[in-house]
């Protein structure tokens, strides 16, 4: 019996807090709106920025996967030995895929790539494939960072004459990847710091106005918890609403922009591979809501604590 009454009291208490929170939002229309707008603005910028960064990283990843290592064999290798080598390479952890390039294919590719401008040069070689001995594997690694290690490992295998890969391209992509990650992290950090600044700012303003209200409650004998609870509930709700609105906006904006860029800038499509909106949002929505709720909760909790020393 006693326990039941206690639970009912607790439930009553929680209901009271939530009702007070809602009423408080209504009563302090302007200040609640101000807090929602601030949180929304921050989450909005965060969302846009976050999508850009995700896509940049995705594009670099895409570019990485097109950089392969060419492996040329010793002249005296039999087809079986070449097959065996291929299996060995395939089994390596960091190797994603290998492709066999026959001498004929190699020469066709070569002509296409290098003689296109000087067709007269290629004529000298007709019917006499200068690359007859140049069968090769193209090896694609899982992570561009492994490029060097895999190349060295390939070099050390018996029966391999030459390993060729664009150190510059691989190194450049790896560095680009690092740079993007670093700059993104830096910018996101800056954005978060700015957001926290702005929000604690707005909340301080809103509470300075209600300082009198808090004082009066305390003079009436209210405990800190009693005063704090509605404020915190209010903060939480403001945070959630403030995050939900811009997330929705980012979703529609993202779709529109991607479609627009695909239409208008088709020529760049080989470099620009966008993530589908759903995939971006699947990550962004939980992060954004958590951010909003966290900011709203913490903002009101700490601000109210400062004010409660009456």
């Amino acid at each position: 019996m006693y326990r039941k009454a206690n639970i009912r009291m607790k439930a009553n208490r929680i209901i009271y807090c939530i009702r007070q929170g809602v009423q408080s939002i209504r009563r302090n229309g302007l200040f609640s709106l101000a807090s929602v707008v601030t949180i929304a603005a921050c989450v909005f910028l965060f969302g846009i920025f976050f999508s850009i960064v995700l896509n940049l990283q995705y594009m670099v990843k895409q570019a990485e996967s097109t950089v392969g290592i060419s492996v040329f064999f010793d002249d005296n290798l039999t087809e079986d030995e070449i097959m065996g080598l291929g299996e060995t390479i395939q089994r390596h952890d960091s190797v994603a895929q290998i492709v066999y390039v026959s001498p004929e294919e190699a020469w066709e590719r070569y002509k296409e790539r290098y003689f296109a401008d000087y067709p007269e040069l290629a004529e000298g070689f007709e019917n006499d494939n200068p690359l007859a001995d140049s069968a090769s594997y193209e090896v694609f690694v899982t992570e561009v960072e492994q490029q060097d290690a895999v190349a060295q490992w390939l070099q050390s295998l018996p029966g391999i004459r030459r390993v060729k890969y664009s150190e510059l391209a691989a190194g450049g992509l790896e560095k680009a990847n690092q740079l993007i990650s670093l700059v993104s992290a830096g910018l996101i950090l800056i954005l978060l710091v700015v957001a926290v600044f702005l929000i604690s700012n707005t909340i301080s303003l809103a509470y300075a106005v209600r300082r009198e209200e808090i004082e009066i409650m305390k003079w009436l004998g209210a405990t800190n918890a009693f005063v704090r609870a509605p404020f915190v509930v209010e903060g939480l709700m403001i945070g959630l609403v403030g995050a939900a609105i811009p997330l929705l906006a980012v979703f529609f904006l993202y779709q529109t922009v991607v479609r627009f860029v695909m239409d208008r800038f088709g020529i760049l499509l080989s470099v620009l591979k966008f993530l589908p909106a759903e995939q971006v949002m699947a990550l962004l929505i939980p992060v954004g809501l958590l951010l909003g709720a966290g900011i709203g909760f913490m903002g009101s909790f700490f601000t109210i604590r400062k004010q409660l020393k009456v």
Binding site: N12, M217, W219, L220, G221, T223, K309
Partner: protein
């Protein structure tokens, strides 16, 4: 039992509002505190409410030493719930209507929801504001605001009632009614301390009168009269 032992209060800017106050008020007493503007009457009440701390001396209420009560925790809130206070400047919540302002005092002490409605309605009727219960403070006349403040102080049936100039904005007949109400509350056991400038009321009611002069207790008479000292 309220005991002031050698209490002094000097504000930050150097104003000595209370000097060496010694005082005893027994439970159930009715006390008027009079004195010129700036003589320290409100400061005396603020000390009792623990709104300000004394610079020196000791204040005991029901054997509790206010100076030893910790700011953190529940001690101060629990102590304050014994008190009902009418502030000189009312201190109503601007964003709640009359009903909510009075009900707040009950909510704070976690009164059962079903009692709140009954008690608040009843006290508002007593002070003559039952028709204004939905109004916000900004839309009330001065005297109406003052009566809301009085209702809020009384709704919890406090052990001790502190009233700072509770009839400053009220006409004589309203003032008399409020005084009758305070007397009734007092008869039911509440210690009542009223700061007032209303000489006529003080003289008529024949209660204990404490007269302050520049922070000092200049007179303390049972069944006293308002002493006007044009210094």
């Amino acid at each position: 039992m309220i005991i002031f032992e050698n209490v002094s209060k000097t504000y930050e800017k150097g104003t000595r509002a209370i000097k060496n106050m010694n005082l005893k008020i027994r439970p159930g007493e009715f006390v008027f505190v009079c004195g010129r503007s700036g003589s320290g009457k409100s400061t005396f009440l603020k000390l009792l409410l623990k709104e300000v701390e004394p610079t020196s001396g000791r204040i005991l209420v029901d054997d509790q030493d206010l100076g030893k009560m910790k700011r953190r925790g529940k001690a101060v809130p629990l102590y304050r719930r014994k008190l009902g206070v009418v502030f000189q400047d009312f201190r109503l919540l601007k964003d709640r209507n009359v009903y909510e302002n009075v009900a707040l005092a009950q909510r704070v002490v976690a009164a059962p929801a079903k009692d709140i409605r009954k008690e608040v309605t009843s006290i508002l009727t007593t002070v003559g504001l039952s028709s204004k219960y939905k109004s916000y403070p900004a839309n009330l006349s001065g005297g109406e605001q003052q009566r809301v403040a009085i209702a809020r102080a009384l709704v919890n049936k406090p052990e001790i009632l502190l009233a700072d100039e509770p009839t400053g904005n009220l006409d004589p007949s309203n003032s008399q009614e409020i005084m009758n109400l305070l007397e009734k509350v007092n008869e039911m056991g509440t210690t009542v301390i009223v700061v007032t400038h209303n000489a006529e009321l003080v003289n008529r009611m024949k209660k204990r009168v404490i007269t302050m002069r520049r922070g000092v207790v200049a007179g303390d008479v049972q069944e006293g009269e308002y002493q006007d000292e044009s210094e």
